[in-house]
Symmetry: C2
DNA sequence: GTCTATAATTTGATAGAC
DNA sequence: GTCTATCAAATTATAGAC
């Protein structure tokens, strides 16, 4: 139906994951799609609306992929492996940062509602892993630690242009 | 002498560490300092020059602080503790992200020369820790892992507005 | 070193025709 | 749903007076 809306979301996600929220404009997106910026505004009245739709879609996709990946995961280790596999796919499939990792860094510079959505994504990440690890306080710390390591290594791999760096960290994380 | 130049650097570092490179303008900085943007341009011809000066100063300060902190560190564990202490100070002293963590996330959206400087900072981070860990391949992976964990946890603490989160990860990292 | 003034471009956003 | 046209504001940056 509204194919344009999805195309805008695709381009916006790719652009923001590469350059950041403030480095992407409605005109950039419109030009890339061969439409006008007014048309982008038709689908997303404000930039904030676009950002929120982006995080919502991203989060949904992430947890859907996680569910698929973890169906046969019984042990804590298997669940961790599944979690890491989804993160790895984020980076490798597009050679881009996690959307929420980027927006999380820019936290104090984006609309409050948008960072709330980003923080909720991280909260859900940690909840999932903490549950996989047993659910107690130690499990929660381990979960936070794991998400932090994945996000930070992704950032390092992006800045240092070395995807292998991320894989080495993944190996260590699973050892 | 050139007190203004330093004041510009101070304001720019604080602003960029909070909101990101593209969310900070020369006028913002000038207004905060009660001067005009043309005066900022006198000290830093282009925004890229300001960014480069920022990373240079930041990196120097970081490794100076690390040297002080690690003077009495003999064991690997002590050196890791010193490294973590400097990172903790970055976050806690200002409640802001690491400058290079922010710019590293925005890697593909900032001038190439600027990201080169950021990547060099991370390289030096990893070199220092790898050396502290013994210098072999395993040590290097452990070093990368550690820097990634610190950077990622800082981002999480910032987005989720929970500095204690960072401290819990630190504890786990040192255990 | 700092200012006024200004250029050239980009940005987020809207009104209204088709 | 998409367009043309337009706006007000912001952005990087420069020229030249003081």
């Amino acid at each position: 139906m509204t194919a344009t809306r999805d195309k805008v979301l695709d381009k916006a996600e790719a652009a923001i994951r590469m350059r950041g929220y403030h480095a992407v404009s409605f005109r950039d997106l419109a030009d890339e799609l061969g439409i006008k910026s007014a048309s982008v505004h038709y689908h997303f009245r404000q930039k904030e609306d676009l950002g929120l739709a982006l995080v919502e879609r991203y989060s949904k996709r992430f947890f859907d992929a996680l569910e698929v990946e973890a169906t046969k995961a019984l042990t804590s280790k298997d669940k961790l492996r599944a979690f890491c596999a989804v993160y790895r796919h984020i980076l490798v499939s597009s050679d881009r940062l996690c959307l929420c990792g980027m927006l999380g860094a820019e936290a104090a510079g984006i609309p409050v509602s948008l960072n709330d959505a980003v923080a909720a994504f991280f909260e859900a990440n940690i909840d999932w892993l903490a549950s996989a690890f047993g659910g107690d306080d130690t499990a929660r710390t381990k979960a936070t630690y794991t998400v932090g390591t994945l996000q930070g290594s992704m950032m390092l791999a992006s800045s240092m242009k070395d995807v292998a760096l991320f894989d080495h960290v993944l190996e260590a994380l699973l050892a």
